[in-house]
Symmetry: C2
Subunit: 255 residues, 2 copies
């Protein structure tokens, strides 16, 4: 089975010209089929401020009213996505920018307004793996903005980590899938004070031991929860690494 790598990179990396160039050189070097899923929250917040639209966050998630939906549609789907696509084309990566509405790639449901009304926020219902497979087989590199649609004409704001995980799962019938999350560290550290103490591989047994001895705690636990859910859905491995070196990092799998 051929391989595909789905890489999620946050807004901080793609919104800064210099870090974007560094990241894209790494991305271009990834062999085989690949998909990029990007954020853009900082740009959205900055553009919203210029337009007098207030940014409201709750538990790290954006509350997307109608004015904010307009902002994220412009910023994620236009400004950030098309800038990445143009930069990729300049270094020979045959990128095609997508939202979940394009080719009906990602259908979502508007999140229920109780207990918390997140506004136009979409929870993923279905990924169109067949459409992405068609693009990948044509040699194209999908670059996905964190926007989805409900199939009735409504765009919805959707978390980029979730999109990356769902896209990875949606490609399982077609490929041997690696899901890579870029974050600010080189990988999962055995000693938080030592940036170079990256744990190269973690399986489920090792994970349980690392939780038991206190090495893993706090914000890392949801990341692992999502990683194991992706593995359970057939993704081969999940990598947590730095955007400046995609070849290092921590690989999580079922071995």
């Amino acid at each position: 089975m051929e391989k595909v790598t789905v890489i999620k990179v946050g807004g901080a990396v793609v919104e800064d010209d210099s870090s974007l160039q560094t990241f894209l050189a790494q991305f271009a070097a990834v062999e085989g089929h690949k998909v990029l899923v990007h954020g853009g929250g900082r740009s959205a917040t900055a553009m919203a401020a210029r337009l007098g639209v207030e940014t409201k966050m709750l538990d790290g998630r954006r509350i997307t009213d109608e004015a904010m939906l307009e902002v994220v549609t412009m910023v994620y789907g236009g400004l950030v996505n098309k800038n990445i696509v143009a930069r990729m084309q300049a270094i020979g990566v045959n990128a095609i920018g997508l939202t979940g509405a394009d080719l009906d790639c990602i259908r979502s449901d508007k999140r229920p307004s109780v207990p918390i009304d997140y506004g136009y926020a979409g929870d993923v219902r279905k990924v169109n793996g067949a459409a992405l497979h068609t693009l990948l087989e044509a040699g194209f590199v999908p670059v996905m903005a964190p926007l989805t649609h409900n199939g009735k004409g409504q765009l919805l704001n959707t978390n980029a980590d979730t999109i990356a995980a769902e896209v990875a799962k949606g490609l399982v019938p077609y490929y041997d899938v690696t899901l890579t999350f870029c974050f600010e560290k080189k990988g999962v550290l055995s000693n938080p004070a030592d940036e170079d103490s990256v744990i190269p591989r973690i399986n489920r047994t090792q994970y349980n031991a690392l939780v038991a001895d206190g090495t893993l705690s706090g914000g890392m636990l949801p990341k692992f929860h999502n990683a194991f859910a992706a593995l359970d859905a057939g993704v081969t491995s999940v990598v947590i690494t730095s955007a400046v070196n995609l070849n290092s990092g921590t690989t999580i799998n079922n071995d």
Copy 2:
């Protein structure tokens, strides 16, 4: 040879919800392969005003400084394009939004700054007909925003009429191509005072006669100039019609 219809529709149609819905119903009914090229100037001007960016036009063309490029990238590539795509998906049209940077569809050169500096305005150098052919053969419907790129990472603002004509020409090796321009009238009128006096067909001989007798003049002449240039490049017919009835209008060809 299979047929493709390349349809250009202006900002006024796609920026208003009600006229967009009317148009999309017409567009959905067009048989065979099809491509939509859209404008979005009014939305760009409105968004620029909200951001305190001054809109400067010269001979009907936008001067695109760095701040305005940011606006058109957001508005054309994000807001307008993705709204159209989501609406199309809702009525069963398998749309995929594109700028010229996506799949390197349209490469352009920044317009020389003399005699007039239009800023980040792109003159089309090359259309990637092969990439569009791949999408069309997969059953996808490209929806193109009026943005191109220079192949070096720079997005450029490009006239939508020009993009439609160039895309039509770029598809000539693959299809029997019809190029349709939607405008505010039902077609070319023999009597400007009579909205129903549409001339159904005009060939080159008839065109020369209509210019000689004064029926055609002013703003219609450049439209015909572009239409004949497209026919010379192998496009089968050019249609000038209304966005509310794509089946009426004036067909210009070499018969």
